[in-house]
């Protein structure tokens, strides 16, 4: 193993051969896909590297989707567990992040569809009627600024919460993951024009709700 805990081609000639053939077919193989192929071949350290790189983006994406950090971490665990369990069937047919976010989105949409978000949201609202408890207060703001900020934050949260689940996922990937329309389409398994439609309808709703913040 080298310094990064990754097996060298000499240690795993079969992997090396496969990656080279994938490269030949695809032209180039992204680093994450290479790591995932190593995970497929039993290299646990490569899974650690992927986790290190994608842990925060996935959790933050899920946190914005379900608006609950504990649930988001639970769902992220589920997503990474599915990645690990699917390693034996992994083929680098798409970008690794596309595959990863497809799993994460699937997990989040299932959670929302099952109505568990409403129960959680109800309990969250009971715990913090102003919906501000989970946001860390910024000590540089005055009490008045903090109050205004928290009200604004609550409105943003509410506006996002009111979006249909798929529109919400599209906005989260577009705004925070900076994904192209084509990649979002791959993640959501729909056409690029369908993604644009989802996004523009979502932004239209958000403009109506949040335009006064300009």
């Amino acid at each position: 193993m080298n310094r990064e805990g990754v097996n060298t081609p000499a240690a795993q000639p079969s992997w090396s051969a496969r990656v080279n053939s994938d490269r030949a077919a695809d032209g180039s193989l992204e680093r994450d896909a290479e790591l995932m192929l190593r995970v497929r071949d039993g290299d646990q350290a490569s899974f650690g590297l992927l986790l290190e790189k994608h842990r925060s983006p996935v959790i933050h994406f899920l946190d914005r989707m379900v608006q609950n950090q504990a649930v988001a971490e639970e769902l992220a665990q589920e997503a990474f567990l599915r990645v690990y369990k699917s390693r034996v069937r992994y083929e680098p047919t798409a970008k690794f992040t596309t595959w990863l976010f497809r799993i994460a989105t699937h997990v989040a949409l299932n959670w929302i569809r099952d109505g568990r978000n409403e129960k959680h949201q109800a309990s969250l609202d009971q715990e913090s009627p102003d919906g501000t408890a989970r946001q860390v207060a910024d000590r540089s703001r005055t009490a008045e600024q903090e109050l205004v900020y928290q009200v604004k934050l609550k409105e943003v949260r509410q506006a996002i919460r009111n979006l249909p689940a798929k529109q919400k996922a599209a906005v989260m990937m577009h705004k925070y993951q900076e994904m192209e329309y084509a990649q979002i389409a791959d993640v959501l398994s729909c056409s690029e024009s369908a993604v644009k439609s989802l996004l523009f309808r979502a932004y239209e709703s958000l403009r109506v709700r949040l335009a006064h913040m300009a």
């Binding site: 650690g48 986790l51 842990r55 925060s56 959790i59 933050h60 946190d63 914005r64 950090q69 988001a72 971490e73 992220a76 665990q77 990474f80 567990l81 690990y84 369990k85 989970r134 946001q135 860390v136 900020y149 604004k152 934050l153 409105e155 943003v156 949260r157 506006a159 996002i160 906005v171 577009h174 705004k175 925070y176 644009k196 996004l199 523009f200 932004y203 239209e204 958000l206 403009r207 949040l210 335009a211 006064h212 913040m213 300009a214």
Partner: protein, 166 residues
């Protein structure tokens, strides 16, 4: 520039607010904004949305996230191991016993050959056992007859003795 509201307006305005337009398109759109109040209003609203979404900053990830995940993976592997059949486990084990397969096959062949070879004498023993059984049955029947005979004799003696005496 033609008013984008008549064409791909939404895409252009979203890209403008996101800052993803190239410099040429951005300059052209900004020139258009100076003369189009409707687009100016829409672009301002989209920029407001864009910056409002920036406020939604997530909290740091729990420090034990990885540990919990690795524990779940270990539990999954454990349960998967026990769910698998015993034979499957043996076949898939790292220390595969596949080299012992020829020896096991040879043992099976020897056992079968032994059973086939000894199948004849087993039948003979059964056949031999049958007469032995019959002898025992005959002996038992004779014993029974003796007993009956004795009883009969006594009975006959009681009946016959007076006649014989006569």
């Amino acid at each position: 520039m033609e008013c984008p509201k008549n064409g791909d307006g939404a895409e252009l305005i979203v890209a403008y607010a996101a800052g993803t337009l190239d410099s040429g398109d951005q300059a052209a759109f900004e020139r258009h904004l100076e003369s189009c109040a409707s687009c100016r209003q829409m672009a301002a609203a989209q920029q407001a949305v864009w910056s409002a979404l920036d406020e939604l900053s997530p909290l740091p990830v729990s420090s034990n996230f990885d540990a919990k995940l690795y524990q779940r993976i270990a539990e999954e592997q454990q349960s998967a191991f026990w769910q698998r059949g015993r034979w499957q486990r043996w076949f898939q084990a790292e220390w595969s016993w596949r080299p012992a397969m020829p020896v096991a096959a040879a043992c099976v062949v020897l056992i079968v050959a032994f059973l086939v070879k000894n199948s004849g004498p087993v039948i003979t023993q059964q056949e031999q056992a049958q007469p032995k059984l019959q002898i025992e049955q005959v002996e038992r029947a004779l014993d029974d007859m003796d007993m009956l005979k004795q009883a009969g004799i006594e009975f006959t003696l009681e009946k016959i003795t007076p006649r014989e005496q006569i």
